[in-house]
Amino acid sequence: MKRFSPFASIAILMIAAGSLRAQSAAQVVTFEVKAVNEVGVTGSPNLVIDAAKPGESELSVQSTGNTWSVTTNQSRAKITAALDAPMPDGVTLSAQLAAPAGARSAGMKPLSTVPVDMVTSINHLNQGGLPLVYQLDAVSTLAKSTKGTRAVTYTVTGGA
């Protein structure tokens, strides 16, 4: 079998190198950003009415220190809130979500099983640590030991 000398091998490599041109490769990358709408809350509010001012017919207490967060890549998104069950007669649970930049808060709104708008006009943002305040109100004629738990469901829906 005929074998190439070392000099011939080097020459072949040099010829091969010279014959190759600068070269490139290409990949097609397909990408898409879908509608993204996420809302989150922190805190475990515990609202207890245990005191009243003399003469007042309404008893009230607030829970602060809770926060909420939102991410949306849509415009005119909004946050709604709803309870999983009605509140007892004479008791009202309300919530207030601070508005992120450029959005509008509805202020302190009574909650029920029907979704209520809490924040509107949310446009293309991600913001966290926004104040969330709950308020429990009860009429003073309510029997004591009225207690329970409610799940508050916040929903973010995108406009466009």
Partner: protein, 81 residues
């Protein structure tokens, strides 16, 4: 949307290839309060041949990405002979 990434080699005597195009990259979720969660794909490979030393691989897109988005690529360093 589609972007074409080109990987040209700068000098003669070199070859580069890629294994194919990756599946579509779709951003669909986020953690509330944070930017949308990036997506990655690691299904493709590349190969390179060069008779020269101290060469480099560059990459560029066929057109600019839409505002607010970025496409990033990482090429694992190859070990030489």
């Amino acid at each position: 949307m589609v972007a074409v990434i080109a990987f040209p080699l700068a000098a003669q005597g070199q070859l580069i290839n890629v294994s194919g195009s990756p599946p579509a990259l779709r951003i669909t979720m986020a953690t509330a309060g944070s930017t949308p969660t990036p997506v990655t794909d690691a299904s493709t490979t590349y190969g390179v041949f060069s008779l020269r030393t101290n060469q480099k691989i560059t990459a560029n897109l066929s057109q600019a990405m839409p505002p607010g988005t970025s496409l990033v690529v990482t090429l694992t360093v190859l070990s030489g002979p």
